[in-house]
């Protein structure tokens, strides 16, 4: 679309003798006469052509940039569901029972064939898990999670059937909280010299800042949580009450970041959530050097009943986030299509454009 011309702003008053009926005549404005000055663009091949070329010229480089960035991101995934007999976690997945007091552990070795230089983000991924099911999404009480005392003692009806347990209110209530992911994942680097070095994982900075500091609040401040949660009970599937999620008082109770991350329901049934961050120590050593690693899993979370899968993902991050070639490819495609269309329109414009002008 291209500005063609502004019609000059003059207001024509039609009808003879404009002022002969002073009483009856309402004030005459260009607006009332529908004669406001206006820009009257028309989409023609000629006017649209440049736009197509410009879009093409802008989109293709952006697309290439995005694609290259995405390609430079390193990502490693490992599935630890334990579906196959060969999988180390097969036993854990088979013998699962909610009541077992003894946690089942399994460890998976893996090999990183290239070093990860910058901060590495550790995700857990679930498949076929419908966090976006309506019954599930609404099964929470935001007011309770915000530290409201009344909601703590009397959770919202939306939390049913996870609102009351043995006539005590559940905190945090609801299906989402009840099904919080509770596998423990630890990462060990198998040093070539034979020692097994545990890689330090940071558990903070994984949730939105606003969630942690505004949306989620413990009832009555972060101190003395057991007292604050007096009179409530833990969700049925949890092993510990909510005030024992972490030893750090700034990461405990409702403001536990693992909990907050879980509470942000995913859009699609296959999703990943940020679990830990592996901070880069210094510029000299890669965060994760090339070599053999072991993933130690405490297997608490059952997914096989609904054909789910569990994964661990290690990924570096660029300015555009994780690995996603889609956006780059899409930009390149759209840019090229626009460019092509520009050429087609150029031909049409040359062949037919002049004909139309003669016709009028």
């Amino acid at each position: 679309m291209m500005p063609t011309s502004y019609e000059d702003g003059h207001i024509s008053v039609s009808g003879a003798g404009g002022g002969s009926m002073p009483g009856k005549k309402p004030e005459n404005t260009a607006f009332k006469q529908q004669r406001l000055p206006a820009w009257q663009p028309v989409l023609t091949a000629g006017t649209v052509l440049p736009a197509f070329f410009i879009i093409g010229l802008i989109f293709i480089p952006i697309g290439i940039g995005l694609y290259v960035t995405s390609m430079n991101i390193k990502e490693f995934q490992i599935d630890y569901t334990g579906v196959d007999m060969s999988s180390p976690c097969y036993n854990c997945s088979q013998n699962f029972s909610w009541n077992s007091s003894r946690p089942c552990a399994c460890s998976l070795p893996f090999y990183l064939d290239q070093p990860y230089d910058s901060n590495v983000f550790m995700y857990y991924g679930l498949s076929n898990f419908y966090q976006n099911h309506r019954r599930y999404v609404k099964s929470r009480d935001d007011s309770q999670l915000n530290g409201n005392q009344e909601s703590l003692k009397d959770p919202s009806k939306e939390c049913e059937p996870y609102a009351w347990s043995s006539s005590k209110p559940i905190a945090p209530c609801g299906a989402i909280a009840n099904s919080m992911f509770n596998d423990t994942l630890e990462l060990f680097y198998n040093d070539p010299n034979g020692s097994k070095v545990q890689i330090p994982l940071t558990a903070t900075g994984i949730a939105w800042w606003t969630d942690k500091h505004v949306k989620f609040r413990n009832p009555g401040g972060n101190e003395n949580l057991p007292a604050a949660f007096q009179g409530t009970t833990k969700p049925v599937n949890w092993h510990w009450p909510v005030y024992e999620l972490d030893s750090d008082p700034e990461n405990n109770g409702f403001i536990n970041e693992d909990f907050i991350v879980w509470m942000r329901t995913a859009a699609l049934p296959t999703f990943r959530k940020l679990y830990r961050i592996i901070q880069r120590k210094n510029n000299m050593v890669p965060t994760l050097p090339r070599g053999n690693y072991t993933l130690e899993v405490v297997y608490n979370y059952p997914v096989r009943s609904f054909d789910g899968r569990k994964r661990v993902i290690l990924s570096t991050i660029s300015w555009m986030g994780g690995k996603n070639p889609f956006l780059g490819i899409a930009y390149i495609t759209v840019g090229s299509v626009c460019f092509l269309l520009g050429v087609v329109l150029l031909i049409i414009h040359h062949k037919y454009g002049s004909r139309n002008n003669i016709a009028t």
Binding site: T4, S5, S14, G17, M21, K24, P26, K32, Q33, Q34, R35, P37, A38, W39, Q40, V42, L43, T44, A45, V48, N119, F121, Y130, Q131, H133, R134, R135, V137, K138, D142, S143, S156, Y162, S179, W208, V214, A266, A267, P269, F271, K273, L274, S305, F306, I317, W319, G321, K323, N324, F326, L327, A330, Y331, C338, L341, L345, H349, N356, N357, T360
Partner: protein, 1084 residues
Amino acid sequence: NSLKTSLWMCEGENWVDSRTVYIGHKEPPPGTEAFIQQRFPDNRIVSCKYTFWNFIPKNMFEQFRRVANFYFLVIFLVQLIIDTPTSPITSGLPLFFVITVTAIKQGYEDWLRHKADKAVNECPVQVVQNGKIICKQSRRLRVGDVVLVKEDETFPCDLILLSSSRDDGTCYVTTASLDGESSHKTYYAVQDTKAFTTEEEVSCIHATIECEQPQPDLYKFVGRINVYMNNEPVARPLGSENLLLRGATLKNTEHIYAVAIYTGMETKMALNYQSKSQKRSAVEKSMNAYLVVYLCILISKAVINTGLKYLWQSDPNRDEPWYNERTDTERQRHILIRAFTDFLAFMVLFNYIIPVSMYVTVEMQKFLGSYFIMWDDEMLDEELGERAVVNTSDLNEELGQVEYVFTDKTGTLTENNMEFIECCVDGHVYIPHAICNGQEREELFFRALCLCHTVQVKEEETVDGIKHGIHQGKSSSFYISSSPDEVALVEGMKRLGFTYLRLKDGQMEILNRDDEVERFELLEVLTFDSVRRRMSVIVRAGSGEMYLFCKGADSSIFPRVIKGKVEQVKARVELNAVEGLRTLCVAYRPLSPEQYQQVCHQLSGAKLALQDRDKQLAEAYDIIERDLILLGATAVEDRLQEKAADTIESLHQAGMKVWVLTGDKMETAAATCYASKLFRRSTQILELTTKRTEEQSLHDLHLHGVFYLFSLSGDCTDFGLIIDGATLSAVMRPGQEDSNSGNYKEIFLEICRNCSAVLCCRMAPLQKAQIVKMIKASKEHPITLAVGDGANDVSMILEAHVGIGIMGKEGRQAVRNSDYAIPKFKHLKKMLLVHGHYYYIRISELVQYFFYKNVVFMFPQFIYQFFCGFSQQPLYDTAYLTLYNISFTSLPILLYSLMEQHINMDILKKDPSLYKDIAKNCLLRWPIFIYWTVLGVYDAMVMFFGAYFLFDNTSFTSNGQMFGNWTFGTLVFTVLVFTVTFKLVLDTHYWTWINHFVIWGSLVFFVVFSLLWGGIIWPFLNYQRMYYVFMQMLSSGPAWLSIILLITVCLLPDVVKKVIWRALWPTTTEKIQVGAITSMETLD
């Protein structure tokens, strides 16, 4: 009693249903038949729909009868009853808004009608009671009341004339506002009561009237009056010549006494009204059709999703995985109930696909848009100081779809004002005010015109009550005649120097050029009749010479002429006729005393004849009006309204068929049609009139004949048809025994379709409506428009799809009952070609756009169900669901639908053929609707899957954090709002500062709202799902990039389609748009 029986005999078969009226409510003397007292309605006219009490229930009922409103009520109730994904507020609020706005609008309109009714019903009427005059409100008038009506007053109800201030018991009436004839008609008082001329006398009349029950035919009335003279009943027949109709006006008679027989809604005028049914425009019909399609889409979506849901859920681990269990009460519910609830929940989830807000927006668009019609200065009449009036804004767009225009003639096409144009004497042409050289023949001609007429001179009383004669002041007297042509001629003569003064004691006085009074004794008047088509007078000049002056149509004069410059006059007459002037020829014959004696003998013989008097008179006239000497011809114009011809020509060019329906006689009407360029010289005229088709059988043959004529001369394209009321009713009469008459109707329709112009004369008001109805019902179902100015046009105005009233001289009834009223016929051009065109373009875009934007809105949500286990999880937040149609995307399209001008209005007026580009509802045809829907589905797919692949298992912020489902929905929604707005941007051809303000403003509003909505923990909400979602999204680079990308991809096909179509297959409109730009560029 024998008289009575004979009356019963002669007055026909339909005397079953009758009413008895006691004049002055006086019981008949005992001994006569016992009459049963009947109840009659009072004289109240009711045109309003609601009363104060029934407004709310009746209006609610009418509103919920609309499919859309009912639908939303159901959705609202479902939301209230079952557990649905969205709260009842999301549909309740808009519904409440719609209902309230509509109710207020309709209530206001009805209040205006109440006011108008009140004004009519409370106007004072003088009633005679016990010998005194009492003033009553019109609505209190009852059947049997004796009413006094003074000159220039309108009759308050249907009356039987008892007596008049004129000696002969006659009165003059103009029925202009009833049937459009402005000439004065004579009505007669009842023989036995015409002597009672004062209040006291009138109140002693002791009589009863028996008459038929009210019926709508204006010209039919049968009744009987029993006057009791000394307790001895005298029965007299009553006919339509005794019946004064409500709406007619008393003229030229000081006062009359009359008795009310039909009152209120039973008057013939009220019966000729048709009930004002709500008119629906073609666009609204399309809208409803689309609505049904979308309803089907909606239901099938819900059914598909419900089915898939139960298929998917058949695995219990999917139905109820351990992390997401049902409550016990839910589990116990029967599966069928659960399935049905799910179905309803899906319906509620997708209900936005039926755009409720479209109805509000359409309503607002129509209401606000009609102001542009009212404000339009080009439709302002400076003389009257009147502007166009919009009574129903529901039909704005229908003005752009008109295919048939039915117009009244008198007062609509013409000014209702005859004017003398010229006369031609022996081939010399004279126009008024020209100096004449005073030849003898010319003076004879002028005298002939001054004498040969039946004009009366009316002397007006001035304020101080002194009668001014013509000598004192010429302006204080004027001429009255049943034929406006005669008045025009006499007035024309006055301007040429010969003034007709008066008829006094059988002497006609003429003031000649030298200011001398000439006297002529009027011996005989051979009155006008439509068979002879001429009239004559026999006068004796002061000098004793006797002349016969004859004036008439050329066809009836020329064969009787034996002398005179026939060729020159004939040429002139033909020339004038072509120009649409009404021509008359004038001839004379000097009579010797012997000849006169003979004439007298013939005439008196014929007049005294008891049998076949008419026939004998006609024979006598035929003998007398012979051997004439041609004097010359005159030309009179019923002045057409300004630019009437131009308007009709434009309407023709715009592809409309123009029909003239008039109560006037054929010759006059035909002349007007020629003058207004409805018929051209080249037009081949077909006549279907009673004159030609005296007998029924002949008439049938004639129809066939005309039809064959058509099939033969198929190559000649320009046909005109003239048909009159009687023939028409024969054509339209429903089939008797034979099925042939049905065929005639079809043949007639076929003929009409092939005619570019049709003239129907001698139409009764209801016949006009019948014609409109017949065309409406023909198989193409064309859109009709009726224009008229008088009460006789009301029925057709109400019948047509669009009724337009002209603010003429004949009262405001047409205006009141019309959908739109304009001051002059010429304003029709702008009304249709500019306003109609614009409103059609605007509303069709509005409708299509609304369906489009709701498809785009809802389809992603539909696809999302496949990814959330068919759980009815909404993709967007509740606030977005509610506000999408109400505020984010509503104003730009509303403004578009008020402001859009795809082509400059001057071009639209200059080039009427552009109107054809939008004919037949072409912007709301199915292919275009499907295109918009497909475009909507495409856009929805792009948005959803674009976001889907972007979200595909990855983080898109630089801190590695993840987004949830609400961010996903917000991303789609942001793309959606921008795409939908930009789509409108692409379609807007007229960018004023207001458009810029509203379009960019509504996008800014969306962003600001989203920031605000997510910026605060809202204490009144029980969820905080949107907290910081929008801001987090904006903090991510890929989100920005994908929003831009997705918007581009969504808009691309539409732009390409537009450009390519415009380049390869441009419509006239598009060519002109491009042409306008090129011309502007060259100007620059």
